[in-house]
């Protein structure tokens, strides 16, 4: 009997922990929803900022975040996938490869502001791109690389060895096997990595602080060499600069809500793609 009670108390405690976590999440969403919804109108989504950031909308800011995120994925996905394929399928097992693996994992732990400084030194200064979308995307891309590499590696390793054998036994080369059997089977897992990294980089402030973002830009960015407004940095700027804290705070909440929705939307689309891919053959 006594054991039974101890067990019940234990499980109740675990349940409370879950409850607290979920509660935090809902409080955040509720808080953002209530405060952000006040400014969230059609005009807010489609217009450019007016009157020194105290009125108008945030359309160029949203677009800026989309550009930066897309640019980062375009850069990091092919590069990361290539690294993962090499590490999983081709590299001889040995200590050099282990060092590479450990380095990649460590890269994931580097604070994002360090990536920002690196981007400033390399892309902005050394390559002379200047503060622009290109520099910001590349910096965010490097931040996303370890995430994409490790999730792609996991996905590739999870493809059963028997499928590789089946393909090779039919006279396929190693590359044909990877391209036609291993990669398609690993695609859902690879997409998961992309989803996670999008969620991460869309909200990053520090890496774009010195490489891409600006508080105010007249109109929309014209090319990849333009400075850009982006949601995370915009929120930061609205809360720390300017002379109209009341109006600015409201807009900052609006931006936060949009950022949250944007990330959820992108994740939703990617999850749907992944499910479709999976159910097609495993369903």
């Amino acid at each position: 009997m006594k054991k039974d009670i101890v067990q019940k108390i234990g499980f109740s405690f675990l349940f409370l922990c879950i409850l607290a976590t979920v509660l935090f999440l809902f409080v955040i969403i509720y808080f953002l929803g209530v405060n952000g919804a006040k400014v969230l109108t059609w005009g807010f989504l489609t217009q450019a900022p007016k009157n020194g950031m105290t009125a108008g909308g945030v359309a160029p800011v949203i677009l800026g975040t989309v550009y930066l995120t897309l640019g980062a994925v375009l850069f990091a996905l092919p590069l990361g996938l290539a690294c993962a394929i090499y590490l999983c399928e081709y590299s001889p097992k040995g200590y050099i490869v282990n060092i590479i693996r450990i380095s990649i994992n460590n890269l994931a732990g580097v604070p994002s502001v360090v990536f920002g400084l690196f981007g400033l030194a390399i892309f902005v200064k050394l390559f002379g791109f200047g503060v622009c979308i290109l520099s910001g995307s590349l910096t965010l891309g490097i931040l996303a690389l370890p995430l994409i590499i490790s999730s792609a590696q996991e996905a590739l390793t999870a493809v059963p060895h028997s499928l590789r054998e089946a393909s090779l036994a039919l006279g396929a080369t190693k590359w044909q096997t990877i391209k036609r059997v291993v990669l398609p089977a690993a695609l859902p897992g690879i997409l998961t990595g992309v989803i996670l990294s999008i969620g991460r980089i869309a909200g990053e402030t520090a890496p774009i602080l010195f490489t891409a973002a600006t508080f105010y830009l007249k109109g929309y960015p014209k090319s990849v060499f333009s400075e850009v407004m982006a949601l995370p940095y915009h929120i930061y700027a609205l809360m720390t600069e300017g002379a109209h804290p009341a109006e600015q705070t409201a807009i900052a909440y609006g931006c936060s809500l949009i950022l949250l929705i944007l990330v959820l939307l992108i994740s939703g689309v990617a999850i749907a793609m992944r499910q479709k891919q999976r159910s097609q053959f495993y369903g």
Binding site: S162, A166, L170, Q176
Partner: protein, 253 residues
């Protein structure tokens, strides 16, 4: 051996690292016959047939000495591409391993990776292979459904059809019925008997009745050695070696 020889292993030794998995194997595989390899787990029988289409090359730290001939040509020498060998010597594995693709794509895969572009030829070959593998009637209405929706026995016949599509000369079966029910097993056995008209077949099996039912020759492996190799009826009725007799009468296994 009086029959025409398709494959031949000569003084084959095989090592995983320092462990010697096969010891001085000499074995002849006559054309258009079924050769069964029997023996207890870990005796090297699966290791042996994987040498016959050079699948052992996928293993790290493995080394091989000796010669393996296909139509009188040594296939181990490095000047021959393993891709070419595997086209001629197909393999069906222990567990059905269809690709997560449609039934059609599973069978057409081998042709496509070997550079066949003619769609009409591919389609004809797919149907022909599925018919030969005795699967066509069960799948002709659902060629574009996932192969993973088939039953285990159907999947294994699909894997056989997939092999046949690339027109191999030799078929290697590595315990093809190990994960199948008795009815599916019987279908595969009937199929193997049918296939030996056109192909040379080597089958590894745990099941001695299976070896007795379908094979013409049987080799008994024990601890990496080929103890005895003879006509199947001789092995089962009048084994020459005491160890073979002990194994087939179930005294160990």
């Amino acid at each position: 051996m009086d029959k025409q020889l398709k494959m031949r292993a000569e003084n084959v030794n095989f090592f995983y690292g320092k462990h010697q998995a096969l010891k001085d194997i000499n074995l002849d595989i006559p054309a258009n016959h079924v050769v069964a390899i029997i023996g207890p787990s870990g005796c090297g029988k699966s290791t042996f047939i994987r040498l016959l289409n050079r699948m052992h090359e996928l293993l790290a730290h493995a080394s091989l000495t000796g010669r393996i001939y296909l139509d009188g040509k040594d296939i181990i020498s490095s000047s021959i591409d393993s891709v070419d060998i595997r086209k001629r010597v197909g393999m069906v594995f222990q567990k059905p391993n269809p690709f997560p693709k449609s039934i059609f794509e599973n069978v057409s895969y081998g042709l496509e990776v070997n550079g066949v572009k003619d769609r009409q030829f591919i389609e004809e070959k797919v149907v022909e292979s599925l018919k030969k593998a005795a699967l066509w009637d069960e799948v002709k209405e659902r060629m574009h459904e996932s192969a993973l929706k088939l039953s285990g026995g159907q999947q294994q016949r699909l894997c056989i059809a997939r092999c046949l599509a690339v027109s191999p000369e030799v078929l290697l079966f590595d315990e093809p019925c190990a994960s199948l029910d008795p009815i599916s097993t019987r279908k595969i056995e009937e199929l193997i008997l049918e296939l030996k008209k056109d192909y040379t077949i080597v089958i590894v099996t745990h099941n001695m009745q299976q070896a007795a039912r379908i094979s013409d020759y049987t080799g008994f492996f024990l601890l990496g050695e080929l103890i005895e190799f003879d006509k199947t009826e001789m092995i089962f009725k009048a084994p020459k070696d005491k160890r073979t007799e002990d194994y087939i009468t179930g005294r160990f296994g």
